[in-house]
Symmetry: C2
Subunit: 131 residues, 2 copies
DNA sequence: CTGAATCCGATGCGATACTG
DNA sequence: CAGTATCGCATCGGATTCAG
């Protein structure tokens, strides 16, 4: 089927729009991880949702699925592709803007919690070291 | 109810994640527009969806709703707030990345159409003039 | 330990028709 | 012309269960 995007933003959201995808990318940016590691690193995610979103990211070329064959229990590892690292700047910008927004809202009396800062995304590629 | 975000990216997606919101912001970045104008500027959007997403953007402080009182048929106009303009850089980055992605996919034999480039977002604030 | 299968509720988006 | 109300559908994310 032929896709039509209004603009590049839609195309980007197709890739990172999933609820947990930014977190997954963030963790894999530091080092390759196995599914068990990811589940522990991302509290609240379920088995299905994790594998669903991992599959999406694989199909979009953001991560690689690597089967380690010479191990006793067959192990599976996921790692960011070089294409995946190109998302670093975008995620960084989005994370920073979102943090400022949360800060604003909380000043206006709302009670919003932000579990992780943007430092995680700075690990990707050169990691444009923003304060 | 208390909200909890994993990271800033989620908070940002809450604001611009709607299917048409980037387009709406893009058009309002150039000049204030009335609903009829927006419907004509955004082919495919329906009345309901447009007003739904406009209301969301108002509640999030991205746009202002201005009722022009001294006109024969009561007119309503929408304009970007200064807070809304702060989204400029983020949308720009996302649009550029998405455009490159579409280009890559089309080179791989897919047939994806991209209606608008990132130029529209350059109108926001200083409009960090990227090529 | 990895991950596939099934069921299900919430929600976003859309079509249509109606009010001021 | 601006906005609302109702209905419907598709998609996403989540709980649970089963298999290699």
């Amino acid at each position: 089927m032929k896709k039509v995007y209004q603009n590049g933003v839609e195309a980007t959201l197709d890739v990172i729009g999933g609820k947990w995808k930014p977190m997954i990318i963030c963790h894999l940016a530091v080092q390759p991880l196995r599914t068990g590691d990811l589940r522990r690193a991302i509290p609240g995610i379920t088995q299905k949702v994790l594998t669903d979103q991992l599959r999406d990211l694989i199909n979009d070329g953001i991560i690689n699925r690597i089967v380690l064959v010479n191990t006793a229990p067959c192990k599976v590892e996921y790692q960011l592709t070089s294409y995946g690292t190109s998302l670093g700047d975008v995620l960084m910008q989005m994370s920073i803007w979102g943090e400022q927004r949360v800060a604003n809202l909380n000043q206006d009396g709302q009670d919003i919690q932000l579990l992780n800062g943007h430092e995680g995304f700075s690990k990707i590629q050169g990691g444009s070291s923003v304060s």
